[in-house]
Subunit: 321 residues, 2 copies
């Protein structure tokens, strides 16, 4: 049998595998849970089926609200778990038809699939000014994260057609344009970014009284540009800075309050109005402040804090005594 | 019949209503779906039971990952909905025990409850200290939700069996117990609340240097109790205060960093470690600070700010000049 024929046949066998449709999880061996999101009710399981790796993405379904009465019959059994005054908490068991779970099965799965769907451990860091000097700053300055793409935007070499608004002042000016995460049509998910023309403001840590004209200019003109362009008022917009940022050239995020933007958590987002107010009250606020953020175990910053022994005493540090 | 007796009897009748435990939704009439979140798989239904208004908060449960093999047996039926190469999409029907839906029943519910749980337009407010004095404080002191249920917990009249940890000190002590949003089994969705024994701390606005022993005690002992009880270290826990809070008796939220807790946004959550650090640096920080939060259009607070003309000039205010 010549190579080609053999290859074809093995190919055919593989195709047979690939076309297998399951009618239950019989024979499925669980190896580990590689990702989970309890708020979204999702989980990713790495397992084995027919001696080959498999990945299963599980997701609970939203409630079927077009037929919500289905849940509210004598068929839905209730088991009381808590009662206090007018509040009762129950485990409810709706009719079977309402219990379907979405399951995406990837089989056979490769190592790349496993990596792609594996969640990284995340750790809280409370970065004191001295930890910033000793751990974070050296990393930022040593490892020059390439931000050429930012300069391309500021110099109009790229994305010039996407610019929503520009103030060309070299000290207080900025370019406002859509974030890659926004489809640019659904304004309820509006997501714009203001990138400043001024260089060498690495992050929140570099802001002080001297930054106020820049910050106030971005807030005022950014909000006005969005009002004029998209007819969304200031009272419907979140305007904030990330710390740590994903790149160390100063920029500000503008998102619709209706949109649960990733990175709007209290462990990363700093409202621009708050930042301005803090600096107005205490000019050197961000030089003295302990700043809190999450690091992922595969990030350089996590390794640096680990090497510095931070996580050996994270509880004490977190108590900020 | 003298006042006292009548009062007692009406009190008893009321308690009977309040103590009714349901074993199914038989007799429940659906009026409308007043809120939904398909990403989080939650829905809030306004209905009627025994001729009284009722609100039901439905939430699909996170997957039970401590026993994930339960989902991967021949018991879990699969209905194929899509197949392409190595990717197969199915509707999965896990064993009944894995299909419980969390249902919080509020009955009898007041108009205020209906408002609280109805999806509404939301507006950002930047509350200066003077706006707090003129608008927010008068409202808090004039009217608020009954917090009898809080006192029931502190006095061990309710939920005593759910207490995870208690420090009985009247000034710095607190009771740590599971939030109603947590099913108490999936620690990746861990959500505990520390309710302080001390009365008359309404919110973040009341905190100053004198509050540091209380705040540091909650942070240190709360984290230790969670480490001891659930084996989750401080570096994996978000510890924060809400402003505005949902009730004006001081309490602190503890959630797993893996859990995208509602109300963890930068527009509401204030990390306890940050609060402590800010007060250590500037004792009167929360007396001077402009605080930002969202108000919903049916909340009294929104109406008060609207009547005060706040939204007629929200852009200027948000610029904080």
């Amino acid at each position: 049998m010549d190579r080609k024929k053999r290859k074809l046949e093995s190919g055919d066998r593989q195709d047979d595998d690939r076309l297998r449709i399951l009618d239950s999880f019989e024979g499925f061996k669980v190896k580990s849970v590689i990702s989970e999101n309890s708020r979204c009710k999702t989980a990713v399981i790495h397992g084995e089926l027919d001696g080959k790796d498999a990945i299963v993405l599980l997701e609970r379904k939203p409630f079927n609200l077009s037929n919500v009465s289905n849940y509210f019959t004598e068929e839905t059994g209730l088991e009381n778990t808590l009662k206090n005054d007018i509040y009762g908490t129950y485990d409810a068991y709706p009719p079977k038809v309402e219990n379907a779970v979405k399951a995406v099965v990837i089989h056979p799965a490769t190592e790349k699939h496993v990596q792609k769907y594996t969640d990284q451990e995340r750790y809280i860091v409370h970065e004191t000014p001295s930890l910033y000097e000793q751990v974070t700053l050296p990393l930022i300055t040593s490892k020059q994260f390439s931000i050429q793409w930012v300069y391309n935007i500021l110099e109009k070499k790229k994305e010039a057609d996407r610019i929503v608004y520009e103030d060309t002042d070299p000290d207080t000016g900025f370019i406002l344009l859509p974030d890659m995460k926004w489809d640019r049509t659904d304004t309820s998910a509006l997501y714009l970014v203001a990138i400043v023309h001024k260089h060498n403001i690495k992050s929140l840590r570099d802001l002080d009284t001297g930054s106020l004209p820049l910050l106030q200019n971005i807030l005022k003109k950014g909000l006005k540009a969005i009002q004029d362009t998209y007819d969304i008022p200031a009272s419907k917009l979140n305007v904030y800075i990330h710390y740590q940022p994903s790149y160390y050239h100063f920029h500000v995020h503008f998102t619709n309050v209706k949109f649960e933007a990733p990175g709007f958590g209290a462990d990363r987002a700093h409202l621009l109005a708050d930042v301005i107010n803090n600096i107005q009250l205490y000019g050197d606020f961000y030089k003295k402040k302990t700043l809190t953020f999450l690091v992922r175990e595969q990030e350089d910053l996590y390794m640096k804090f680990k090497d510095a022994g931070y996580f050996d005493c994270s509880e004490e540090v977190s108590v900020e005594k």
